[in-house]
């Protein structure tokens, strides 16, 4: 059986099924439907949803609530991510699990509130001072909006970091048909809580992820956004600071293979590989169906993980082709990553930045 549903609804259901217990957000098109639904639904599961006075307050409340035991999510669009920026850094250095939904719209600045864009791809990766890694997942269908929201909650706990769910106006606000069996329900781990006191952080091994110290438990809990030692005492000791920063890097980058989620659809004999993500991946898959029905071999790769870059899957998918076509609603932001990891093929970008979608026809044309 099927249902007629939009991405916002699927994200809200995914969050609730993942055990989300706290939401704070500020109204912004096209993310507002998530805020409105969370305000209505969270109290039913004994959770709390708040409309903050601005985006800064919203993400700040989420960080505070998380350390007091909640599993938190916030949702906004590009302009709101700009305001989240500093607190994203706080969540990184403080190792706070947090799911951040970025429903992308056309930028820059106020841009096009009701028009689609995919211009935040590099922004979420590099959007806070210091340059530390985050995780970003990108659903390419409404069914994936549900499953990847669940997965984002799991990864946030696994790696104690902000996890972005990068969607867009079209995915969130367009109603589509979903085969109910296609809602995958990846397991969401319980929080690993530091039971009885002890240091709230651990830097060795560098790629290890220690349990979370929560307020109101058996011990006194310290948290700080300044460079700190394992006891969360502020330090400028170069040896200790280097250890902390190496840990923040290694815990994500050294586990890239574990985070990597892609959907390859490769055809023997294809000389063109299409690569895309989000709503544009739908047009890509449609183009591939059309090419194949015209007896033209074509491969495609849908990227569900954008950060860290799923390098292994990209290199593997590109190994047999002469041409890689990267389709995205920006000036080629992710094409930079493909160019960085694929050295064996010509890389071509198909872009659109006028608030309209890339049509399958444009990709059929880019085939060679």
């Amino acid at each position: 059986v099927r249902e007629f549903v939009d991405g916002s609804t699927a994200i809200v259901r995914g969050a609730l099924d993942a055990g989300c217990s706290f939401f704070a957000g500020y109204p912004i098109t096209p993310a507002s439907p998530i805020l409105m639904q969370m305000m209505r639904e969270l109290p039913k599961v004994d959770g709390i949803a708040v409309q903050g006075e601005d985006e800064i307050a919203s993400i700040g409340m989420c960080i505070g609530a998380t350390l007091a035991g909640a599993r938190a999510m916030t949702a906004t669009s590009g302009p709101g991510i700009s305001l989240y920026s500093e607190n994203i850094g706080l969540a990184i250095i403080g190792e706070v699990p947090l799911v951040i939904v970025d429903v992308q719209r056309l930028g820059p600045a106020t841009g096009g509130a009701t028009t689609v864009g995919q211009g935040d791809v590099q922004f979420v990766r590099w959007g806070t001072a210091g340059g530390y890694p985050i995780i970003a997942l990108a659903p390419s269908s409404v069914a994936e909006c549900y499953s990847l929201t669940r997965h984002a909650f799991d990864l946030a706990e696994r790696f104690r970091c902000p996890v972005f769910l990068l969607t867009d106006k079209e995915l969130n606000m367009t109603t589509t048909t979903v085969e109910v069996e296609d809602y995958e329900a990846p397991p969401v781990r319980a929080r690993d809580v530091l039971a009885a006191g002890g240091p709230p952080y651990r830097y060795l091994p560098a790629a290890g992820v220690p349990p979370i110290a929560q307020y109101g438990g058996e011990g006194i809990v310290r948290f700080t956004g300044s460079t700190h030692d394992e006891r969360a005492i502020i330090t400028k000791s170069p040896a200790k600071v280097a250890q902390m920063n190496e840990h923040l890097r290694a815990k994500i980058e050294d586990h890239a293979a574990e985070i990597e989620l892609t959907r390859p659809d490769l055809q023997y004999g294809a000389s063109t590989l299409f690569v895309s993500y989000g709503v544009t991946a739908g047009a890509m898959r449609e183009a591939v169906v059309r090419l194949r029905s015209a007896n033209k071999a074509a491969s495609c790769l849908t990227l569900n993980t954008l950060w860290p870059v799923p390098e292994r899957a990209i290199v593997e998918a590109a190994s047999a082709v002469r041409r890689v076509v990267v389709a995205e609603l920006n000036h080629g932001q992710y094409r930079r990553e493909i160019e960085r990891v694929v050295r064996s093929a010509e890389i071509v970008g198909v872009h659109r930045v006028d608030g309209e979608l890339i049509a399958p026809e444009a990709l059929v044309e880019a085939w060679a």
Binding site: V1, R2, E3, F4, V5, V12, R13, F22, A24, T29, P43, K44, V45, D46, I48, V50, E53, D54, I56, A57, G60, M61, I63, G64, A65, T66, L67, A68, G69, A70, E86, L90, A113, S141, E170, M173, T174, T175, T176, T177, V180, Y215, G216, E218, I220, V221, R222, T224, S226, A232, I233, I234, G282, A283, R285, E286, V289, L357, A359, P360
Partner: protein
């Protein structure tokens, strides 16, 4: 924590580390008062969270044997609010300077308005002590700082009045020299409301030497600015974390939202992807009509997508819905050349002009009489609501035209449309069914 756990009374809530502040800095005095307040209250240190802001006062939390959060500049109130909302049983105390008060002004105001149960201690020394003695929002007019070398031209913010008139439960102003400061802190923490203490003090590194400030001049400045000291506001508005829980009790335990599957009960002859644009004006129920056709498609075993387009000013201008229907999954939801357009208004015709121009004679347009002259090569059929057996208000025209078009196009059956109308929420179900019946004649 189990109920059996006994709490050993603490003689001090300070740890062994000495304060890092300059000699003569007021922070020493205030923090000693805070320690006395905590000792007096004998709170479980695991149930107290000190949330510190940025600046010299932001270092304070490290010298206490209670839980602590040291976040970003000006945002301490937001973290404290999140902690209190998630764990209302905790005592949450914010320590922030006059700098944090200024940059976090919106949070201060809104926390007061909500009356969230946190206690805010403003370490107010009239300048930025950590970054070189720049002026802040509380610097008195005329005062010399590193960024007001000719004297401050701005008026200082009355922090107490600001939060007081906006709903704070407890507001007090005094100085770090006040003998009763510890008692006032304890009183504020105990009050379980948004409590703010504006504590005036001296920055021995910058403000004191630049302005010959002393314990005595704190009092004269207060007088010159026309400000009062002591307990200034006491209000009994409901505390936000408690009010939220009380207000949501009735819905707690209700089922989580789950998929609402549509079981196919009808057949559709559609063998290819079919693209329909409904183009009308805001308020014309374009989206409702599109949704109903989408659901009728699902009831007919088809796949459907509905993509809406309307200006941000919801009640004016165009409203346009793109419906893609077909026998297989739909991965692309936009329409450049429609198979059919249902044209309801000039706004809609203008918005759909490009798509109307892309159509060919084998494509169909169903238009209300006033937009029958739209520029298109498609075959146009005019639908006149005057022909309807019932009088149709403007909000029913979209569905009326859409149903008439469906009958002619044969994409979904009338039975499927009527079944979809039954799925409509509330009182519109019967009206929608009547509209559909009127359209199919």
């Amino acid at each position: 924590m189990s109920a059996a756990t006994t709490i050993t009374p603490l003689a001090t809530y300070r740890n062994d580390t000495p304060y890092p502040f300059c000699p003569g800095c007021g922070h020493h005095l205030i923090l000693d008062h805070l320690n006395r307040a905590l000792t007096k209250m004998q709170l479980d240190p695991r149930r107290v969270v000190l949330v510190s802001d940025i600046g010299c006062s932001g270092l304070s939390d490290q010298y206490f044997a209670v839980s602590a959060f040291h976040g970003l500049h000006g945002r301490s109130i937001t973290y404290a609010t999140g902690i209190k909302l998630a764990r209302p049983d905790l005592k949450v105390i914010v320590i922030m300077g006059d700098g944090g008060t200024g940059i976090g002004g919106a949070h201060l105001l809104n926390a007061a308005r909500r009356n969230i149960g946190i206690t805010v201690l403003v370490f107010n020394n009239f300048n930025f002590g950590m970054t070189g003695g720049q002026h802040s929002t509380t610097t008195p007019s005329g005062a010399i700082t590193s960024t007001t070398p000719g004297g401050n031209l701005e008026r200082p913010l009355d922090v107490c009045a600001t939060v007081g008139v906006n709903g704070a439960g407890y507001v007090w102003r005094g100085t770090s020299f006040d003998k009763d400061l510890a008692d006032r802190i304890a009183e504020a923490v105990d009050a379980e409301c948004f409590a703010l203490l504006d504590i005036w003090e001296l920055c021995s590194a910058y403000y004191m030497p630049s302005n010959r400030a002393t314990k005595r001049t704190l009092a004269t400045t207060l007088k010159e600015l026309g400000l009062e000291g002591g307990l200034l506001y006491r209000a009994g508005h409901p505390e936000f974390a408690a009010a939220y829980r009380a207000a949501t009790t009735s819905v707690r335990g209700a089922p989580r939202p789950s998929p609402r599957p549509v079981t196919p009960r009808f057949a559709s002859p559609l063998e290819r992807t079919f693209r329909i644009v409904i183009a009308g004006s805001a308020g014309g129920k374009v989206r409702s009509a599109a949704r109903l056709i989408g659901e009728a498609a699902l009831l007919s075993g088809l796949w459907a997508t509905e993509r809406d387009d309307y200006p941000i000013t919801v009640k004016t201008g165009h409203s346009l819905a793109e419906l893609v229907l077909g026998p297989r999954p739909i991965e692309y939801t936009a329409i450049t050349r429609p198979d059919a357009v249902i044209l309801l208004s000039a706004d809609g015709a203008a918005k759909a002009a490009g798509r109307l121009a892309a159509m060919r004679p084998e494509d169909r347009v169903f238009a209300l009489p006033e937009v029958a002259d739209a520029k298109t090569s498609a075959t146009v059929r005019v639908i006149d609501p005057a022909d309807a057996p019932v009088r149709l208000t403007s909000s029913r025209l979209a569905l009326y035209c859409a149903a008439a078009a469906m009958k002619e196009l044969g994409v979904v059956t009338v039975e499927a449309l009527l079944a979809a109308a039954e799925m409509t929420k509330g009182e519109h179900a019967a009206e929608n069914a009547e509209t559909i019946r009127a359209a199919i004649g």
